[in-house]
Amino acid sequence: MILSEAHELMRKNFRSFAETEFTTEIQEQLDREGGFNWDIWSKMARYGFTGCKLPVEYGGQGGDTLAYVLMNEEFSRICPVLAIYANTPNSLGGGPLLACGTPPQLEKYITPVAKGEKQIVFALTEPGAGSDAGSLTTRAVADGDYFILNGRKCFISGAPIADYAVVYARTNPDLKGSRGISMFIVDMKLPGVSCGKPESKMGISGYPTSDIVFENVRVHKGDLLGPLDKGYSVAMKTLDGGRLGVAAQSLGLAQGCLDEAVKYAKGRKQFGKPIANHQGVSFMIADMATEIAAARELIYSTAVAKDAGDKNASTMCAMSKYYASEMANRVAGKAVQIHGGYGFIKDYKVERLYRDARIMTLYEGTSQVQQIVISRSLLK
């Protein structure tokens, strides 16, 4: 797709920021030690990246979905973890509020999130409710002006550093499955809210993930988000946008792998010539580049379709995530293969990218869930 001048300029700006600010030292420290880099977060906030596609009237930048995709791609090309930093407030965190928040809720929660003053996360998954999110058991019981929340969420990205969480809880146990679920904005400092120990993960270690436990947490009814008992459909709609973000992260990660592989293949000599001159290696590079180009076209056109209100946009988001995340794993695997034994050593960036790639086919819906979404849209 030929980008507009504005989108080309955005890409240039995102790339320049990532290449300059996401230093190798920061990337390696986050991978090694986990935690969260607040300095980078502040810089992202200063330039509006935390509010990339959030509305201008609530402190955001008013970017379109293609801008958001380009940001994810360019940031992830340098470091997928740092792409997640900017991604969360714009997708899973801010998404449910944008979908059905009242003006006071938007003012109270989206404005500080867009400006990077507060962190908001998305709490849907439970130990027994992953792909089958509709079987969640966290309960919210009405009590005067409050709802009392009890339950446990798991694998919540960003939970240990969050100020707020959008929590999905069952408000009507008589309704089965995905019905009877409501959304709440929960202040993480409320009595009864606690986080588990940050998980020790294979990749994306620099963005902490943990359980959130709710023990008799009193959430004011003013923080009920959207209509009672009808929160699940909003979760699914939010995940559409989130999936496109993960697709763009996968695309950027794959491009980063290709960049590293090309550089290495040109410099590494075996049998008296650069390994790039061996057909076995050059054909792998051709495959990687072709798959990346295909994913890029799919993702960009999905971004445009989504903003245009195309009725197939939801399916296209699932296709983008499914194809790009699987592609990123294939490309990362080839990048390691081209590096040979060095690709297995932590001194080489592809070792980390290979591990980071693994989450892409898992979070925000596994590849198999995407296949369900895609096939159902055709076979309904």
């Binding site: 504005a6 300029l9 700006n13 200063r46 330039y47 509006g48 930048q61 008013g62 940001m71």
Partner: protein, 266 residues
Amino acid sequence: MRVYVCVKQVPDTSGKVAVNEDGTLNRASMLTIINPDDLSAMEAALELKDAARCQVTAVTMGPPPAKKMLQELIAMGADDAVLISGREFGGSDTYATSQIIAGALQHLGVGAEDVIFCGRQAIDGDTAQVGPQIAEKLDLPQVTYAGKIEKDGSVLRVRRLMEDGYMTVEVKTPCLVTCVKELNEPRYMTIKGIIECYDKPIVVLDYEALKEEPLIDPATIGLKGSPTNIFRSFTPPQKGAGQMLGGSSQEAVNELVGQLVAKHVV
């Protein structure tokens, strides 16, 4: 108060350099960037704007594609921009360039509280002449090599970065200041800035617009009005990759001497 920031589009030094038959740079065929010192000048202007509301205007002389650079500067935070562009201005050396820019600034008007910021020098010509020459032609006080700038009413306190130390001077507005890269870290564009930059005004000043200005004399502008003639331009041969010697100083010296002996250098 208005802050003019004079900026230049220069060849991206990471790309290849192309030269015309007359020895001037073939700018059209090269990738371009905003001159790094000029970005520092823009950042200095935007910091003044952040501290005390003022109008920041980016000014450049160049071919029409230079408009893209001006849009980037608006996306960084400049309020508007001026592109000085015309065939009559082509091929200007530093003398003629400063003549034209000074004429354009006179045309735009330099008020009692206004300031002109320039980068110290451009990475293509490396002359560091245009800024000071603009000041001379506008009869304005100038402070060069600014490494720190503070504004106090109509006085600027500027710390100059010299080779062997600092020199702090005070200067009254209107004045011209040339900025070094060490002055600050230029900000990035914001997404909102990029979205809006295409709607902000960019004034194009051609020869017709400027010809009534006293400084715009056909004898002192363009290639013909340039007292400097380029004798020859060439791309220097690429140097080979260097080699870093490790170990202790003694080991490195031994290795170095060994290699020089082996190559019959010593």
